[in-house]
């Protein structure tokens, strides 16, 4: 299928997750995250895509199956996580928020400063180091959140519907910038979304998931080398979106009898 020779950086094998209230979030999920790819998990609300991401992040333990990291347990430290909300600490500045991951691993503030400033510059917030989160717009807060995830130079960036609450203009801008960041930093991104358009624009590969129980319904490769404003209005983009929409519609129909 897709010419993607890269080895998986993390593999989920037959992962199942049943919550305490009996809800089956995931059942038999097989998923490889390949080194350097931009992978989107696409599915309707409640398909367990966020749960899958939390399992990869180690925030949630699978009830069945295994999560295998290529380099063993060490690789676990090498990821950043961006939540649906900016999730910033309101009591400290932008600088303080981005410093947090380094601080928790015992880094010295003065020594970490150049790295923090550089990361802030990358997300376009060089002039806002001393601002408090409440003084920023929603889009800027999300940029701080991304900077915080990037400051440890993670090999893999996990993003849980990070732009869902933003307006469309801000969202397009952040999508553009995210593609640039991914190119420049050569990292692996796992992006959870329920937006077909967003996933097609951003990803190399889209994994469409079914809901209740969550498992992989279909995989799609998006082989477009350039992701810019032109791509967003191209026939190629529209074509990918149509195929992806159909795959999503199919995934939502699939679990017959499970519909509410």
């Amino acid at each position: 299928m897709a010419p993607s020779p890269a080895a998986p950086i993390v593999s989920l094998l037959g992962v199942g997750k049943v919550f305490g209230n009996g809800l089956v979030a995931l059942d038999g999920l097989d998923l490889d995250v390949r080194d350097g790819e931009f992978l989107s998990l696409l599915g309707p609300s409640g398909c367990g895509k966020s749960t899958a991401l939390r399992i990869i992040a180690g925030l949630s333990e699978p009830t069945r199956g295994t999560v295998a990291w290529r380099d063993g347990a060490d690789a676990r430290r090498g990821f950043g996580f961006v939540f649906q909300e900016p999730t910033l600490m309101p009591w400290t500045t932008v600088f303080g928020n981005v410093f947090l991951p380094l601080k928790l691993t015992g880094a010295d503030k003065a020594a970490a400063a150049p790295r923090i400033i550089e990361t802030l510059a990358r997300v376009g917030l060089a002039d806002f180091a001393e601002a408090y989160p409440r003084e920023l717009s929603g889009g800027m807060r999300m940029r701080v959140s991304i900077a915080r995830a990037l400051v440890t130079a993670p090999r893999i960036l996990l993003m849980d519907e990070p732009f869902a609450a933003l307006d469309e203009i801000t969202r397009f801008k952040l999508n553009d910038d995210l593609v640039t960041l991914w190119r420049e930093l050569r990292m692996t991104v796992v992006f959870v979304t329920h937006s077909v358009f967003e996933s097609v624009f951003l990803s190399n590969r889209i994994v469409v998931m079914t809901s209740r129980p969550g498992r992989v319904s279909r995989e799609l490769a998006i082989d477009a080398p350039v992701r810019d404003a032109n791509f967003r209005t191209s026939a190629e983009y529209a074509g990918y979106c149509r195929v992806t929409s159909e795959a999503l519609a199919h995934a939502m129909r699939a679990p017959a009898g499970a519909a509410a």
Partner: protein, 260 residues
């Protein structure tokens, strides 16, 4: 008239009217000072009795501040302890509640039997003042953003780091609200204990002066002492409000004045 002027002038006008009415009633009805002194006489007494009232004020304020300090230490300390251990919380919380709901007026005479007078007065101030600090801080510590808590976990934060970098800063607004309530309550506790101690003790606090003046039918001095107590309460409230504003002004919604 603008908002600020209105906020100062309106209550000032009410005060002036009230004092005027009081003065008129005393004059017209010819009420003797041992029943109701005129406002002028209260002020004269305040000046003439200043040495004795001032030392009493200092004594009461000392107890109040010490009671408040102990309430903050005890309240925050217990809240942190409760937050760290469910066992300790379940074991001690009911007794904190019992201490709070038992009227301190009823407890004070007992404390005066078992403790030296200063310690007993201090204990009363502490008993009424510590609970709002405990209850509010507990609420604050338990209201930490779940995603932020996850983030700390993801970066391998120690228990101590979670407490000092996340929980305590997050609890600051509630903690300060509790301390603001505790300031007034500590004064009340000190006054109640001084009254209960009555003439039996060697105490010279303002409440003791009020009780003593009552026995001697020195009504003007009762009013003067009451006025000072009231002022002390107001000053404590203003100082604590100012402290809250100072700590929260950069980041908390409550400290921000919005332009509409």
């Amino acid at each position: 008239m603008n908002e600020r002027a209105l906020r100062i002038l309106a209550p000032a006008a009410v005060l002036a009217l009230g004092v005027l009415l009081w003065d008129l009633v005393v004059r017209i009805d010819g009420i003797p000072p041992y029943i109701l002194p005129s406002p002028g006489l209260v002020l004269t007494t305040l000046v003439s009795d200043w040495p004795i009232l001032w030392s009493s004020l200092l004594a009461t304020l000392e107890t109040t501040v010490e009671g408040l300090a102990l309430a903050v230490i005890g309240g925050v300390g217990l809240a942190v302890l409760f937050n760290q251990s469910r066992l300790i919380e379940h074991s001690l919380y009911p007794y904190a509640v019992i201490l709070q709901v038992t009227p301190v007026v009823a407890v004070a005479p007992l404390l005066l039997i078992y403790l030296p007078q200063h310690a007993a007065v201090l204990a009363c101030a502490w008993i009424v003042a510590f609970f709002p600090v405990l209850a509010n801080t507990t609420l604050g510590l338990n209201s930490v953003d779940h995603n932020l808590a996850d983030l700390f976990r993801m970066y391998g934060a120690s228990r101590w780091q979670v407490l000092t970098e996340l929980k305590l800063p997050a609890a600051l607004p509630q903690m300060l609200a509790g301390i603001k309530i505790a300031g007034g309550l500590s004064l009340i506790g000190a006054v109640v204990a001084e009254i209960a101690a009555g003439s039996a003790g060697s105490g010279s606090g303002l409440a003791y002066r009020i009780a003593e003046s009552g026995y001697r039918l020195n009504i003007p001095r009762m009013f003067a002492a009451l006025l000072l107590l009231s002022l002390a309460g107001i000053v404590i409230f203003v100082l604590l409000s100012w402290l809250t504003h100072l700590v929260l002004r950069r980041w908390h919604e409550s400290a921000i004045t919005r332009e509409s």
